[in-house]
Symmetry: C2
């Protein structure tokens, strides 16, 4: 293998595939980055066996020559060292030459690195995915969906299936649900080419979605193509391919958790409520449970918290609208802030049934988002 590549393009690609590489892997070859020079350009691959990322640097792009390949070939290079090195090389152009003993000579300006590589034939193959079932979603919409659901997945491995987000594709809509059994988040979005004959269901690991979100840049409204198989999902965006395994196991039916009635409905400014709870939680988090109390009567809403050692806090808010009965309820400040922080709408509607029944939070003006948290018994 012999090629030269533009430093900025290589650094960008290395940065993307590094998101899949773990230094804690038990498979030594997976601590490396795979480089493959072909006649069309250079492809980088990183993997931790749960997720794999492939980043492609095309030979030509916007009339600019990114890569010149003299001899095609592959090599595995130590990822951490290679990524630091690429960022720090002095020249805009980087030459990579690999000899038969798998030794890579990397030169740039007056720098010369000689790195011991590993055999690319020993690198695991990426899953082969049949691109029959492809649907598409706008990149910024995909990032929103991830942000608004993934925070609610379980971080505990006691029920592994709850560490993922359940995706259901039906009638041109993708419905996403996450729950850790104390709270839940649900969001649905329209997708392109999503009119499958049957309902498709899968559980995507939360950690994969977090990494995916990081490599999707903000600066365009391109679409992401999504391919599903029974145990893998592939996301394709411009020059990046992101593979993730899916989670096994039956995801619980969450629909019956969501109450349809309500006794009190409050409409509040999302930001004001968020900040009032944030301040109340300054005291609440010094206690172990981080619990705040909410009392509502007419349009007067009071958030309070106390710590025996430190003191007390009272926050008062005026509700935009108050419907139903007066109410006293306690809940986790963190859970409420997690939910409110994902809502972009100016106002939220909060639905209460009773002090021990689920609280439902919905942005005013958007029926596609629902968040649920369970209250905490304190009185």
């Amino acid at each position: 293998m012999k090629c030269s590549v533009q430093k900025d393009k290589l650094a960008e690609s290395v940065n993307q595939v590094m998101k899949a590489i773990s230094t804690k892997t038990t498979i030594p070859i997976l601590t490396g980055i795979k480089l493959t020079a072909g006649m069309d350009g250079l492809t980088l691959t990183g993997s931790n066996s749960d997720i794999s990322i492939k980043s492609y640097i095309p030979k030509l792009e916007d009339d600019r020559e990114n890569v010149v390949v003299e001899t095609a070939g592959s090599i595995i290079l130590p990822s951490r060292l290679f990524s630091e090195l690429v960022r720090k090389l002095p020249d805009e152009n980087i030459n990579i030459e690999v000899d038969a003993r798998l030794i890579a000579k990397i030169t740039s300006g007056r720098s010369e690195f000689t790195l011991n590589g590993l055999d690319p034939d020993e690198y695991p193959n990426l899953p082969v995915i049949n691109e029959k079932d492809v649907f598409s979603i706008k990149k910024d919409l995909l990032k929103d969906v991830i942000r608004q659901t993934v925070y609610a997945v379980s971080l505990s491995e006691t029920r592994p299936v709850l560490t993922g987000v359940k995706w259901t594709l039906l009638d041109g809509k993708l419905e996403c649900v996450a729950t850790d059994s104390h709270r839940l988040s649900e969001r649905s979005v329209p997708v392109e080419n999503g009119n499958t004959e049957d309902t498709r269901e899968m559980v995507v690991p939360g950690s994969s979605l977090n990494e995916l979100s990081k490599i999707l840049d903000d600066d365009d409204d391109q679409v992401v193509d999504i391919v599903m198989t029974s145990n893998q999902i592939l996301f394709k965006s411009s020059n990046v391919q992101f593979y993730s395994r899916l989670l096994d196991g039956n995801y619980p039916d969450t629909s019956r958790l969501i109450p349809t009635e309500s006794k009190t409905v409050l409409t509040l400014s999302t930001k004001d409520l968020y900040h009032a709870i944030e301040r109340a939680s300054l005291l609440a988090k010094e206690e172990r449970n981080n619990v705040v109390k909410l009392r509502a009567e007419a349009d007067e809403v009071e958030i309070s918290s106390q710590s025996l050692e430190l003191g007390r806090v009272f926050e008062t808010l005026r509700a935009e609208k108050f419907e139903g009965d007066a109410l006293r309820i306690s809940f986790s400040a963190k859970f409420m802030m997690d939910a409110l922080g994902k809502i972009d709408a100016e106002n939220v509607k909060i639905y209460f049934i009773g002090p021990m029944r689920p609280i439902i939070i919905r942005p005013v003006g958007d029926e596609n988002i629902l968040m649920l948290i369970l209250p905490i018994r304190t009185f």
Copy 2:
């Protein structure tokens, strides 16, 4: 005590005094911030017994009313909670009212905090300092001196006096020296009113200088007044007073460590040399010692490093000027980068005597700075 204060001024002052407060202190009252409202304004104090910081918010400043004091008085409030709270309060104005039971009611907008305070009479007194021996130094110059010397102090407590920077005031000049016995840094600066009759010497803890540097803002060229006593030093800058204890013990005589002769003198671009060593250290730091080699012959300088497992790196540089004999020497990449990173001049002169004798680094065009590192035996 009863007063109201502008949030931004209070937040700034809290931020300053927090730098002196440690949550790991064994004296519980020192985890608090002391607030003292007087007729001229509000004073905040934080201390960890090694350093103490006093920040003063004047009643009036630039025609703006910062503080309104209704009743003078003092209180100690829990520092971490109070600092988070001040930043997050909703209104631009914060009211503080302390009752006879030392309970502070803090209100802002529709937020109301009730905090349990501690008795200000139990707070330790700050050292009383006789302001006879005062000299002054420009703020930006003081920050430079700290940056260019403090990095070389010892981090080990085996010889406590080496964890400080030795300051010598003589003939209107302040000379600062730091060494951890493997490297040394020396810088002298002119000061105002520094013509003391006798030489004054003191050892200022490196950690104090680091904290001091953080609270000196960049945005003006004011002077800092410095008052010395036998066991304390006080820095006064606009509305902040910074007290530090001094270190006991005899500081070693470092002058005899600095060689006066040299066999090879290289003049090199500071930045190019820094980056070449930085790249070579990518491999060197994977080995335990982080050692790089330098070979110079005529104006050809080669920096290299190798790791048995990973590979090798060669960097070549052209010296601006080469004087003396050809040379091979090894040294710590970290120590050399620490020194070069503190030099602002475009070029440096490096003086060598032999493979086991000290290396001297000086910025070209500034006789007031000298850095020394010991080489490492590798061949």
